[in-house]
Symmetry: C2
Subunit: 515 residues, 2 copies
């Protein structure tokens, strides 16, 4: 009943919204929205400091266009995603927490293949191994209404460029066209490019191509154009059409950079070598700078086309910076210092993200927000930005719109709890905060929970952002309360849990008695 009512309302709204776009008064036109999503970029991988001070890591990078975006918009210093990519991407697409949508690990490009590493004592959790599906009834997927479809219904010209990685080949979720995108450039089932190099045809090499060969970019083969730039140029080309039509657009520009393979973007690489960086570090920094240049190119284009005043830019990454699998240069788990660990971990290094939002006329230039936000918040926030107040989505949305924060950077809500749930075995050897971990943050406090052992750790992020001092023994009541809250959330979402081989039963919920 309620859903049908919403559907009707949604349709009415669609019509009225669409009519509104034809209104000649520019002030009423819904804003263009650009999500600029980077892959595997760490919180410190920028010359913009997202902490209270500039770190040695910040100094390695040159990201002048991120600096410009930060000057013109709002910086979020407590923004989060999930430890790996697909869960974050599905959360942004659906507004659901990973523990709720059940795509808790990255998806293989191949259907019905779990990416979980086998374990001696645990069977994998029954997570959605085929990822997201816009169609009901596809095995091992979460069915939900995708954000771009809602935007398109409301009159947006929707464009996908870059990495999709929402579902396995042979399922509807593999194809961005099934999610409400009018245009798709280079997005498919794969989670990384086989190559960033036009000299290698982005992986489309005879005899060498894999499921990760990047589609659609034939005209750049052999031209010396790094993948990041090719995607940017193609994305900008597609903007001409909605601008001509005076139709608002939603551009989801999801770079493959800076995921592995780390390859030298020759435009920027030499500078970092000259600055004394190791070749691996120089490749990484050059990929960051190429990504930043893409942001600059997009911003320049908006200005040239005189639409920068009505275009929102949201900058985000999908998980923490790479530390291992494969290891980067230097000591493991130091790449995101002062944060602990990196991609794959529920410690801050694995989940804390560089986030920037510029909404002309709304965000104060150069402002900073400290309120914690998380990747599923993008779904309701973007709908709110688009003026879509009522919409018909089959899922129940977990995210909170951060538009109130955009309007008031001093906004705080210390009662809000953010949840991470990674009931999977990511890598064989494990590591800090890696494999079968959950976590919850409320205000300054964070609990990290080991699903396998039942051990809980407590950290005060306000004084210990590096999660070095486990306060669980000193603060047993607080720890127990946070574990209980985590447990309640997971149970309410029917979160997937690893299964003990010995008993065939799922591991107990956090805080429950263990057999």
């Amino acid at each position: 009943m309620k859903k049908n009512a919403l559907l009707l309302l949604g349709c009415c709204l669609c019509i009225s919204s669409y009519a509104q776009f034809k209104d000649p008064r520019p002030v009423k036109r819904p804003p263009n929205i650009i999500v600029f999503l980077v892959d595997d970029m760490g919180w410190e991988d920028s010359s913009v400091p997202f902490w209270y001070q500039v770190t040695a890591t910040n100094k390695r990078f040159h990201t002048p266009h991120m600096e410009r975006l930060a000057r013109e918009g709002m910086k979020f210093t407590n923004a989060y995603a999930t430890p790996v990519c697909t869960p974050s991407r599905v959360s942004m697409l659906t507004g659901m927490n990973a523990a709720h949508h059940g795509v808790t690990n990255w998806t293989s490009p191949r259907k019905d293949v779990s990416s979980d590493v086998p374990d001696e004592t645990l069977h994998p959790a029954s997570w959605n191994t085929n990822g997201y599906s816009p169609v009901r009834g596809i095995a091992h997927t979460v069915y939900a209404t995708p954000l771009p479809a809602l935007l398109r219904e409301a009159g947006y010209y929707t464009i996908h460029a870059g990495k999709a990685h929402w579902g396995a080949m042979g399922t509807p979720g593999a194809n961005p066209y099934n999610m409400g995108f009018l245009v798709n450039i280079a997005g498919h089932a794969a989670g990384h490019p086989q190559s960033y190099l036009s000299e290698e045809n982005y992986g489309n090499m005879s005899g060498k191509a894999t499921a990760q060969a990047v589609p659609d970019l034939e005209e750049y083969y052999g031209t010396g154009t790094f993948l990041t730039e090719a995607l940017t140029r193609e994305a900008i080309k597609t903007l001409d059409e909605p601008i001509k039509r005076k139709q608002p657009f939603y551009l989801y520009l999801a770079h493959y950079a800076v995921h592995t393979p780390l390859q030298a973007d020759r435009k920027y690489y030499q500078r970092y070598l000259n600055e004394g960086l190791d070749s691996t570090a120089a490749k990484y920094a050059a990929m960051i700078e190429g990504m930043d240049q893409s942001l600059g190119t997009v911003m320049d284009y908006l200005r040239t086309r005189q639409i920068d005043g009505n275009t929102i830019i949201l900058f985000m990454s999908d998980n923490g910076g790479l530390s291992l699998a494969p290891p980067r240069e230097g000591q493991l788990h130091t790449q995101n210092a002062p944060l602990r660990a990196g991609k794959g971990s529920v410690y801050e290094g694995g989940i804390r993200e560089p986030m920037l939002v510029k909404w002309p006329g709304v965000t104060a230039a150069g402002s900073t927000a400290t309120q914690p936000v998380i990747i599923e918040d993008f779904f309701p926030a973007i709908l709110e930005m688009a003026g879509i107040q009522l919409y018909n989505a089959v899922q129940s949305v977990d995210g909170n719109s951060f538009v109130p924060i955009l309007r008031n950077p001093a906004y705080t809500d210390s009662s809000r709890a953010l949840v991470w749930h990674y009931p999977n075995k990511w890598i064989p050897e494990g590591g800090p905060g890696i494999n079968y971990k959950s976590a919850l943050r409320q205000g300054r406090w964070k609990v990290v929970y080991d699903l396998r052992t039942g051990a809980a750790e407590l950290y005060d992020l306000q004084t210990d952002i590096g999660e070095q001092r486990n306060l669980a023994a000193q603060e047993p009541q607080r720890t127990t309360a946070l574990v209980r809250l985590l447990s309640q959330r997971l149970q309410a979402w029917k979160a997937p849990m690893p299964v003990l081989k010995a008993t065939g039963q799922p591991l107990p919920w956090p805080g429950e008695n263990r057999p």
Copy 2:
């Protein structure tokens, strides 16, 4: 007729050889033979200098066991392979030159897929894209009698460990068991490992495995054992059996190292970082040292088992050191200095190899041979070492046994011509001596021929090992004569040639008039 007669002789020989192994007098026992083949190792990638002086590159590497093998045996300073791996490996297996066996490029693990990069004006040559086949009648393969089958027939216990890469999946050539090996460890259709790391199960990761995932090494998963060491340990285990049986063995230990992906072998990596090497260079040097340690482990094992006095070791690489595709650290094409270019090129950097042979009682300790030899020479040389004088092979063998050189390092034959033929497009952008090139060396002179343009270059390797001074204009008669000799060889072998799209005709043979 002749073949049948040979077959009969071959069988008689088998029987008599086998009987001979039971002779208690050790002096009559055929020697054990170990081919220690490294992948993608350059001529300079060792602390053993293969030039007349120690270079800066030599100084980067620590290969004490190669030094030991050089002290105990013979060093070849003019040894050659082909520019890429499969052609070399098929040449060693069959005794045929690449222009003759027609597997002129590396083979895709997938059947009927050419690894040639598409070209605007040329169709690919009709080379044997499915590689080698021990069975007649398999499309796009060369059918020939493989070396290990002949050794096995003659009574050898034949062991394959490491990289095979002779033929595509779904053809008999993919499987070392089809080539006369009694044991196969980790060899299949792939040309490189997906991972060297046990932490990544050598690539056998759920959802991530590709055709390059290394088979057979389950017991090393997660143990911290680098692939090179795992292969060594498995290879040595298999030697127990022939030693117990007092049966001579042929061990083909073909390391995946030092092919990409360049990954840090933690046992050795830090040392090179400490010595100031860049992380990529340090990974490479550590992989070289791991390979060298494998050689040492094998040599120590032979000594412990007291069979070092009757075991021949042949050390070789399959093509020049990696320079690009993907680029290594530093300037392109400098990695093999003083040699020009690297893997994929017919310049010396792409084809000149570090070669060592120790045959106790035959090779003089610490001796050096300067006579040019080439990869197909291993086939007749190894048969000669095994005492197999008559054998029944369906192919006509192009290689010359280098046993006379082993007996006399001063052996010279300046009339012998070595031929390289690479009528393929290896990489899109080309490079020095790369794509559609052939070459011939006779004595000190080398001609490099561009199949597409018909241009010939002449170099005097005795005074110009770096191929910097093209003497073709100064020495037109010598150039013409060498091009003619190259052309005769290619025509006699019916070498595959690229086809001009405009005419549908193969490119003219070297030196012929061009349309």
